[in-house]
């Protein structure tokens, strides 16, 4: 209650004398606003309910009575954060009952004691501000937890990228593109997707290449074309990635695990059935994998790799639409085209921001590698001495 900023109370009563009495009680501790009827009260609340800590409400009024005000406040969800104390000359039980049913926090009947009114107002406001503080704390904690799990997924996927000799940007890009496409699919009413599902799929998209940790580094980082045999090995990464996820004990019912499995195993399937590892066709391929597949191909085309130069944005899109690179569900591809320009902008911004941290990450990683090699060499020397 000692805060520098006084809290504001709205007094609603159609009689000047009643408002004056209540204002008199409260003016030392609170700012007061006054409304002479229900319509005025709703107008004021509409404008500034966020900054009103409590409403003192009369019931019998011309131009919208107190019950109606309560009903509107309930409907507009203002009652969640702004408690109402009803003050009335009424002492009938059913009348008071009705006020409570409509969401009033407390009921004060006339004649009232000034000191008691002040106490009840203060207590109610304190209770509500505690509730608000608790709410903020809980959502902050949820947010922190969420952020940490995202961070874990990012760290994990960066390991794959690092071994690939690529910047961690690819994982970032695929995630951003996936999210854009999913939101567009929802906007176009092609799929019903909740925020939660979009969140899960884009988070799991970061894991699409985890199977590559099982691929020989020589093949993974070979400059130039792979031989047929090498390519066959390279292609195992999607099935291997799926297996890695499938072997998680007791976690197969988790939505994130299910989606990660789909994405890892099937992000190289083709809509015409000529992809791998299972040759799934059309919508046998789960939506998550279809979307990530488009994101993966687009980013691979527009990025420089050890074996190829980067294609410009427009050229990459043309190739994908023309079927020169992959084969996709036309509806999803169209949605991708709708948001392609937005994606391009988003990725450019992200790359600029990420560059600095990536340089730092590379230095740290190089340092770690050098140490690991040194340790290995020392160990070998030791063996020889034996």
């Amino acid at each position: 209650m000692e805060s520098k900023q006084k809290q504001t109370i709205l007094i609603v009563d159609d009689t000047d004398l009643n408002r004056a009495m209540l204002a008199n009680i409260l003016n030392d501790r609170f700012n007061t606003l006054e409304a002479a009827n229900g319509v005025e009260a709703v107008e004021i609340l509409e404008r500034m309910h966020d900054s009103i800590s409590l409403v003192l409400l009369d019931i019998v009024m011309d131009k919208m009575d107190g019950f109606e005000v309560l009903a509107i406040m309930n409907k507009k969800k203002w009652l969640i954060n702004t408690p109402v104390i009803v003050i009335s000359a009424e002492t009938g039980g059913s009348y008071i009952q009705h006020a409570y049913e409509l969401g009033a926090t407390d009921y004060i009947s006339r004649p009232f004691d000034f000191g008691i009114v002040l106490r009840r107002v203060e207590n109610t406001i304190m209770l509500y501000s505690r509730q608000r503080i608790l709410q903020d704390m809980v959502s902050e904690q949820i947010f922190d937890k969420e952020r940490n799990s995202r961070l874990m997924v990012e760290i994990l996927s960066n390991i794959v990228e690092f071994r690939n000799g690529e910047s961690g940007l690819h994982v970032h890009h695929v995630k951003v593109i996936t999210e854009y496409i999913l939101k567009e699919l929802r906007k176009e009413n092609l799929y019903t997707l909740s925020d939660e599902e979009i969140n899960l799929i884009s988070m799991a998209s970061a894991l699409h290449d985890i199977g590559k940790v099982a691929i020989d580094e020589k093949i993974l980082n070979k400059p130039g074309r792979l031989t047929d045999e090498e390519f066959a090995i390279m292609k195992t990464h999607s099935a291997v990635g799926g297996d890695m996820i499938a072997k998680l004990v007791d976690r197969q019912d988790e939505p994130l695990v299910k989606i990660a499995y789909e994405i890892c195993r099937w992000h190289h399937e083709r809509y015409d059935g000529r992809g791998y590892p299972d040759g799934l066709k059309g919508d046998e391929i789960p939506l998550s994998a279809q979307v990530v597949s488009i994101a993966d191909v687009y980013d691979a085309l527009t990025s420089e790799r050890v074996y190829k130069k980067a294609f410009p944005h427009e050229e990459a899109i043309r190739m994908m639409v023309a079927g020169e690179c992959g084969n996709f569900n036309e509806k999803i591809l169209n949605c991708f085209k709708n948001v392609a320009d937005d994606i391009k902008h988003a990725l450019e911004m992200k790359s600029e921001n990420a560059n600095m941290t990536l340089v730092q990450a590379e230095i740290i990683m190089n340092d770690m590698l050098t140490k690991r090699i040194e340790a290995a060499e020392n160990a070998m020397k030791g063996n020889k001495h034996d």
Partner: protein
């Protein structure tokens, strides 16, 4: 407040001690609100509504006066306001209106005493 003034107010149907108690024994407030009560028009509205046989408006004015008189400790006047409100609730509109003359007597008594008190 002198004992004489207090007795004068009590004779006019005002519960001085209890009311001052509810106001935290601040006589300045008591005077301020009584002054506002003299300027309040709900009684006039009640009379007009009874004349026009406008039950709805009669109820509203009587109800507001019931609250005001309760807070200000106008005991005798309050009793008659309550009667009127209750009769309205029982749909006895004629009988509610019939309360007006005796209610007016108590209202006038209270007014005169308050005017004298405020000087």
């Amino acid at each position: 407040m002198t004992e004489n003034v207090k007795q004068m107010l009590e004779a006019a149907g005002l519960d001085v001690t209890a009311t001052l108690g509810r106001l935290g024994n601040q006589e300045a407030f008591y005077q301020k609100f009584l002054k506002m009560f003299l300027a309040d028009t709900n009684y006039e509205q009640l009379v007009l509504a009874c004349d026009a046989k406008d039950n709805e408006q009669m109820f509203k004015a009587a109800h507001t006066l019931k609250g005001l008189s309760a807070n200000l400790g106008l005991k005798d006047f309050n009793l008659l306001c309550c009667q009127m409100v209750d009769l309205y609730r029982e749909n006895k509109f004629e009988e509610a209106r019939d309360v007006l003359p005796s209610l007016t007597v108590k209202y006038q008594l209270a007014r005169e005493a308050i005017t004298k008190y405020l000087g």
